[in-house]
């Protein structure tokens, strides 16, 4: 359907629209007009992606600036989904407009998924694929070939050079599969096609890392212009992604490999000195002059890109004491030896980068400045030496990245050395964590560079936490409730067992048999009453294991077994996917199944349990993070110091966002229904940290239940759900046709005129109220409905 938001015509590829979708689009447009950032929380399963895309595409095509859209998501499957949505949208637009628009939409993912080279694509590890591809496509390899030497090149890559650089692939939306097919047909590399076409695309869909990880972003996203619209979807975990992109772990093994890499470099240098000394000399001369490598742009993927953020790069000549190749390798060896020595210490150390540097200087006379240039110098050296077996140097690259980072950042980072894997271990297995504590550091360039950044997810409450954590200001912060024609999901908080004993996964009581038995009873009851699938989330693998074995001992699992098949998630992804498959089969063929999984595992983040795949989700305990982790402790301290966020507040925020993720798994659309059970007495106090759409559906009476009460309430709920619910009852309430939308607009305008008459409306406030109003209206309509129409309808049906 087609409608207008202010002066903007929007084509929406479905005949009906949800009120919250409309509100969401209005807020999006407001953000884009204002040229600021926003945080939007939209209930899961309400068509967030499609509303986002249709508004932004409309915006692009309508206004002369044609702002580009960069849509970032987390996983491959989400990227594919978004591409498919975009494709459908563009098809609809073509049909409606009667002509095809000049439009390009591409997705980008790693080489591992896009490679076509017959032998490279068979590699299992992504980094090996990257390294092998580089050795087939690097600029100097090509030069060698031109000189007549016998080197391998990738034909798929070379073919690209025969095409027009701005028209490597015809216009249109290309899904990943489509790209692969086209690439195979034309014998051109899909990965580099996508990379090179990025400046000519209207929509780019790729993963967070291409924008957040400085090592990749510098190469991939450098050319994007300032007025791009950046969207981070499923962004509830974005702070962790930011932190990970700047953190490095070193182990004894990687140091040993790095040392070997340094020795190999040394050998290569002396080889080259005897065969081709000019080359080294010319590199040296260039460094003396302080010249940057001019051909970096040509080399699409240098061996190691600088791990520091673009703003923090030192733009000056490489320090004199690492200019010569042999000096530099000696320097690296000394640094690695120092790190090895540090690894020998048998107690935990945590220190700030300045104190690390001080100690380093005292012991080895390594200064901060050359350390900062490590990554850059190594890149230059590798290029000069024309190394092709780059994957051998990966550990060395890691050490160089570490060196650069530790010398660049004074604050917001911490070095933690853990000599033992766990507190009980006696054989040392040291790990040096160089961990970033401040999520704002990595994302700052994104906010600085792009005028509109949209952060959105199904569960991103409390909204104000994110601007605080990531250091930005918003023009719009909005959370939308879900408009429903009937109450189609039932959130409950169970705080007591049938014996009235409180249940909790808290540390003191978690292994208390009475507590575990109460959880067990809850499980039995819900396995009996729930049709089809149940998903159960535990706070951690450890706890899950211990509870399962206790349940086994109590005979609880035997009882569950009668009504459901039991499947368990494990840290092994292969096993887990097998379990998932079995689970789905069991749900589909009517046997019914129960999946036991972990709140921070893969299942909780990426897998949807729509319809009969999930009718009940049980959260056993609040999924707090493991607070004994030193990295987490350091981060908590940092947050308290810098952002004045209390440790407990952060922990509870983090636990609740994961719970919300878990709960959101079962409800994937308006025609879906499900029960959400939070089983822990501590949930009671944390209610207000749930996303608005869940907390508003959580009734006061359901917030403090015993197992029996919960069971009764769930039975009642399922009974109403089992009555047929004709789709036409949703119309005008939770879905709007075009007429409904117009009706709404008319009302709104009338309201506005009235208020203007009263003279108390200024433009700004008006805009802000808009979204809420939509929701309020819908809610009111909904209530009306429940009272009269619904009963009438039901009676009709019954009769």
């Amino acid at each position: 359907m087609k409608f207008w938001i202010e002066d903007l015509p929007v084509l929406f590829p479905y005949p009906r629209i949800y009120p919250e979708q409309y509100a969401y689009m209005c807020d999006l447009k407001r953000t884009l007009d204002a040229g600021g950032h926003c945080v939007l929380e939209m209930p899961s399963g309400t068509g967030k992606t499609v509303s986002l895309l249709s508004l932004i595409v409309a915006y692009q095509q309508h206004y002369p600036e044609h702002r580009k859209l960069i849509y970032c998501s987390r996983t491959m499957s989400e990227i594919e989904k978004a591409l498919a949505e975009l494709k459908a949208l563009m098809k609809y637009r073509t049909d409606q407009l009667g002509q095809e628009e000049e439009f390009r939409g591409l997705g980008l993912t790693s080489r591992k998924n896009l490679c076509l080279h017959p032998s490279v694509k068979r590699e299992k590890s992504g980094s090996v694929v990257d390294a092998r591809c580089r050795s087939l496509t690097a600029g100097f390899v090509k030069e060698k070939k031109e000189r007549g030497e016998d080197v391998d090149l990738c034909i798929y890559h070379d073919n690209l050079d025969l095409l027009e650089p701005h028209n490597l692939i015809p216009p249109g939306v290309w899904t990943l599969d489509g790209m692969l097919r086209y690439g195979e047909q034309q014998k051109q590399c899909p990965y580099f096609t996508a990379r090179r076409m990025m400046p000519f695309c209207n929509v780019i869909i790729y993963s967070y890392h291409y924008l957040l990880d400085p090592k990749i972003a510098e190469r991939v996203s450098k050319e994007l212009s300032k007025d791009c619209i950046v969207v981070f979807d499923e962004a509830h975990n974005i702070d962790n992604v930011c932190i990970e992109s700047l953190s490095i772990d070193l182990t004894e093994d990687s140091l040993r490999k790095a040392a070997r890499g340094a020795n190999n470099l040394e050998k290569k240098i002396s080889e080259m000195k005897s065969t081709d000394a000019d080359k080294l000399q010319s590199e040296y001369a260039k460094l003396v002059e302080g010249l940057r490598e001019a051909d970096t742009a040509r080399d699409e993927e240098a061996f190691v890109s600088n791990p520091a953020l673009p703003d923090d790069l030192l733009k000056e000549a490489v320090p004199g004491n690492i200019r010569r190749a042999e000096h530099f390798t000696a320097f690296l060896k000394r640094f690695i030896e120092y790190l090895k020595t540090r690894m020998k210490v048998l107690h935990v150390i945590s220190e700030t980068p300045p104190s690390f540097l001080q100690h380093l200087k005292e012991l080895t006379f390594i200064e901060k400045k050359p350390l900062r240039f490590c990554a850059e110098r190594l890149t230059s050296l590798v290029r000069t030496l024309e190394l092709t077996n780059i994957e051998d140097f990966q550990p060395l690259q890691e050490v160089a990245s570490f060196a650069t980072l530790v010398a660049t950042y004074d604050t917001g980072f911490l070095l933690i050395l853990e000599p033992f894997e766990s507190d009980t271990a006696t054989v040392p297995n040291p790990i040096m964590h160089f961990t970033c504590l401040d999520a704002a550091i990595a994302i700052k360039p994104v906010f600085d560079r792009f005028s509109s950044v949209i952060i959105t997810s199904g569960t991103i409450s409390p909204l104000e936490m994110y601007p605080n954590l990531l250091g930005f200001t918003t023009v719009v912060e909005e959370s939308y409730a879900m408009t429903l024609a009937r109450r189609s999901f039932l959130p409950m908080i169970v705080t007591r067992g049938s014996d009235q004993g409180q249940i909790s996964s808290g540390f003191q009581t978690r292994n208390d048999p009475a507590n575990v038995r109460n959880y067990g009873n809850l499980l039995i009851e819900f396995s009996k009453l729930t049709p089809d699938g149940i998903v159960v989330f535990f706070p951690s693998y450890l706890y899950m294991e211990s509870v399962i074995s206790m349940w086994q001992g109590m005979g609880i699992l035997d009882q569950v077994w009668k009504s459901k098949l039991i499947l368990v998630e494990t840290p092994d992804s292969q096993e887990t996917s097998l379990a998932l498959e079995t689970y789905r089969t069991a749900c589909s063929n009517g046997r019914g199944a129960m999946l036991l999984c972990v709140a921070r595992g893969k299942v909780s983040e990426g897998i949807d349990f729509d319809h009969h795949y999930g009718r009940t989700v049980l959260c056993i305990g609040v999924p707090f993070q493991y607070t004994e982790s030193r990295i987490l402790k350091a981060r908590l301290e940092f947050l308290e110091d810098k952002y004045k966020i209390r440790p407990n507040d952060f922990l509870s925020f983090d636990a609740m966002r994961h719970s919300a993720q878990c709960l959101g798994r079962v409800l994937r659309g308006k025609d879906d229904y499900g029960i959400m059970v939070m089983a822990d007495k501590r949930f009671g106090k944390k209610r207000n940290q749930l996303p608005k759409w869940i907390s508003s559906a959580l009734m006061e009476s359901d917030a403090n239940m015993s197992v029996d009460q919960a069971v009764a309430s769930a039975k009642r709920f399922l009974k109403t759900m089992s009555k047929p619910f004709p789709a036409n009852l949703q119309e005008g309430v939770s879905t709007w046709s075009y007429e409904d939308l117009m009706e709404h607009k008319r009302k709104l305008e009338a309201e506005q005129i009235r208020e203007e008459k009263n003279g108390e409306v200024n433009g700004n406030m008006n805009g802000h109220v808009h979204g809420d109003q939509v929701m309020a209206e819908a809610q009111a309509a909904e209530e009306d409905m429940e009272d009269s129409d619904l009963d009438a309808a039901m009676m009709e049906i019954d009769a």
């Binding site: 070997r260 020795n263 000549a317 004199g320 010569r324 000096h327 000394r334 090895k340 006379f365 110091d641």
Partner: protein, 381 residues
């Protein structure tokens, strides 16, 4: 990775737990760490060969002895033995050399015209170090090294002390930061505890009052109000605390930066002594002082080494003589007398007039002596 390890087919990869492989065996007595876990190795910076502690005790306790490794003829002394910092003795040696070089070549970036010059200097130093480490052109390099050391002795000590200062101030800063962070956290902890305590107290209070038979609703309301008030108090206190902290932080950082202070001192050199209290003799109105006077007395004095060696300057004498000769010329006694009379009449003390009198008094040398006290006549003349 050490040279020893390199010559062997990478034992390190196969035995990750015991990364040093055969290095853990004493070359003299062949005892290994595997059998004697307490084994400690020592090295001597003469030749960097390593022996176990007991061998060192045994061989070198009775005075200097030659190194027992075949082919190494260095004489070693026991007190020079130490535990190595690095397991790679190559690096150990390198660091020792760097220590030596670094103590001499310690120029700082700010001493150079531009970055390029500094980088060239660094390159140069690295070349020297590299040669010393790899025993290339040792003699020539040593010579260069010594020459530099001799030529720049003063700068070297200066820079060394600067570096020392920097280190000290850095350490102080670090300590202070840690201290502050700790106290901040402690304050937060205390606040939390306090809040909890008050909440508890409040609750008990409400219960007590209810127990004593007061109206439930009003009690609850009163309790809430008390709670609110306390909370506000606390917020105010926290704010105050923050301000205090901010103030102390700014003080603290001011104390530590010694560099800044030094620079300031230089900018304001102590004013030189001015015996004439600001009077100037430069304005020579009546005569011009020449560089040289052809007069026997002056010439002789000038030629006399004994006089000149003492610092006597003939120029000073001629200048003074001329000044004295013409000193009275600008003074008009009549005017001055008038002025004095005026002052005696106790009329307003005109600043300008006094000043004029002062000048006159100095120049005249005798007039108005009693009145001007701050100019000591006998000083200049």
């Amino acid at each position: 990775m050490s040279r020893q390890a390199q010559s062997r087919p990478q034992p390190t990869t196969r035995r990750p737990a015991d990364s040093e492989g055969q290095d853990e065996i004493c070359p003299v007595c062949k005892s290994s760490r595997y059998l004697t876990p307490t084994l400690r190795f020592l090295i001597n910076p003469e030749c960097y060969h390593k022996f176990c502690e007991s061998c060192v005790d045994r061989i070198f306790s009775h005075g200097p002895a030659p190194c027992p490794i075949p082919g190494c003829h260095k004489t070693l002394r026991k007190h020079k033995f130490r535990t190595p910092t690095f397991s790679d003795l190559q690096v150990e040696r390198e660091v020792d050399i760097r220590k030596k070089v670094g103590a001499v070549f310690n120029r700082r970036e700010e001493e150079f015209e531009d970055l390029r010059a500094y980088n060239d200097y660094l390159n140069e130093v690295e070349d020297i170090t590299f040669n010393l480490i790899n025993k290339l052109e040792v003699e020539e390099t040593e010579k260069r090294f010594k020459a530099y050391q001799r030529a720049h002795e003063r700068e070297i000590t200066e820079n060394a002390s600067l570096a020392e200062q920097e280190r000290a101030s850095f350490a102080a800063l670090q300590k202070e930061e840690r201290e502050q962070a700790r106290s901040r956290r402690e304050a937060a902890r205390r606040e939390d505890a306090e809040e909890k305590r008050q909440l508890e107290e409040n609750r008990r209070d409400v219960l007590n009052r209810l127990a004593s038979g007061q109206d439930a609703e009003s009690v609850a309301k009163a309790g809430q109000q008390v709670h609110l008030k306390k909370r506000m108090d606390r917020a105010a206190a926290a704010e105050r605390q923050r301000q205090l902290q901010a103030a102390s932080a700014s003080n603290g950082s001011g104390n530590v930066v010694i560099k800044g202070l030094r620079a300031k001192q230089k900018q304001e050199p102590e004013a030189s002594v001015d015996p004439f209290g600001g009077l100037s003799f430069e304005g020579r109105k009546y005569y011009a002082l020449q560089d040289d006077y052809v007069w026997a007395g002056v010439q002789e004095t000038k030629a006399d080494v004994l006089i000149g060696a003492g610092g006597y300057d003939v120029g000073a004498f001629t200048g003074r003589a001329l000044c004295e000769a013409f000193a009275g010329l600008g003074v008009f006694v009549g005017d001055e007398m008038d002025e004095r009379d005026r002052e005696k009449m106790g009329k307003e003390n005109d600043e300008m007039a006094t000043k004029g009198a002062e000048v006159a008094a100095t120049k005249g040398g005798n007039a108005a002596k009693g009145k001007v006290k701050d100019v000591k006549m006998e000083d200049p003349f």
